[in-house]
Symmetry: C2
């Protein structure tokens, strides 16, 4: 954990906290809406340094997305466990999704990936690839959790399709939060999602298998 001192003048800012500020701004204003001027000011990073470290606005945005994934999305995936029964883990997962989407609600609810990055993906192919990679990672993680619950080929619905469905629901909840929905409105939807996914599971393993 040693602070490997490098040569030259030391930075006057903490890179992690600077990226957190970038995440906040990008999430609220979008990629095009967040100006480099405001980014520098709120990150407390000089313009020249920003270009040295991140290569420009596009690189900074990708770095912010990575930071967001590490600090905000990782806990959501971690909630999947396995830590208990599938019902409990899915419930914890959607609870974490709702917490993610309604954080900083007054100034800007939503998700950096499913709002800002998804919008920017329309014009920038590089961003579309990044969006696809983030979505794939989440679906693979959910697939693994379902397989751990013995959700295999016997079910009518494959674990991959069920995971894609579970992920789609999560993204839909995030968009609902973006439109202003609060925890009280989102939670019943999440509960219905958990019930629906579980019955999907039982349909295959208990039913006409």
């Amino acid at each position: 954990m040693g602070e490997a001192r490098v040569r030259g003048r030391p930075r006057g800012f903490d890179e992690g906290r600077a990226l957190d500020a970038a995440v906040r701004l990008f999430r609220a204003e979008g990629y095009d809406g967040a100006s480099v001027d405001r980014l520098c000011r709120e990150m407390r990073v000089p313009r020249a340094t920003l270009y040295d470290r991140f290569g420009g606005k596009e690189g900074l945005f990708l770095a912010a997305v990575a930071r967001y994934a590490d600090t905000r999305i990782a806990p959501v995936l971690a909630a999947l466990g396995p830590a208990g029964a599938l019902r409990e883990d899915l419930t914890a997962f959607y609870e974490a999704v709702i917490a993610l989407a309604t954080a900083d609600r007054e100034e800007a609810p939503g998700c950096l990936v499913s709002c800002a990055l998804a919008d920017a993906a329309g014009a920038h192919p590089r961003f579309r690839g990044e969006l696809a990679a983030r979505y794939d990672a989440m679906e693979e993680r959910i697939t693994a959790r379902l397989k751990a619950a013995e959700w295999d080929g016997r079910a009518t619905t494959s674990p991959e399709s069920a995971a894609a469905l579970a992920a789609s629901i999560a993204r839909g909840l995030i968009l609902a939060a973006r439109s202003g929905a609060g925890t009280a409105e989102l939670r019943p939807t999440a509960e219905a999602a958990v019930r629906a996914l579980l019955t999907l599971h039982h349909e295959g393993t208990l039913g006409h298998g």
Copy 2:
């Protein structure tokens, strides 16, 4: 259907087609990404006229969203019927959602509401209200369809919650398409969604009711 001729020089463009061009650009580039300059050029509308008719970029965007809802989203809702059994209507609904999300796929998959408007909603409160209104309208329409299938209070999941879930899935599919997913990848997810919603229904009406 008479063309009520008004005084003054007649317009040199068709307003409907002009708005279609605005929809195309806004959907691909986003609200901030689409410049007034390009909008005028591709809509074939003079700048002065654009400001006279729509009041500015913000008004134009809202007009484009309305046009999009009338021409693109309305058919999706119409697919809900009731025209057949709930399973068939839900299948048709998600098929229409997929068609909507993958239209004009080469240049920009996705949805004007769930990508461009959702992103712009972060900074503009007016847009957030518009997003909420569009989402509410869709959920109410789905709720009505579920109630027509005798999905009422007897079920464990209320028709309102089930409709919110069904709508969330639709939005999640749209985001998946935005990331590059094609019809082949989206359809199994949609089929799983239909199965999940139907089992949710049966769980309540046939089970421990």
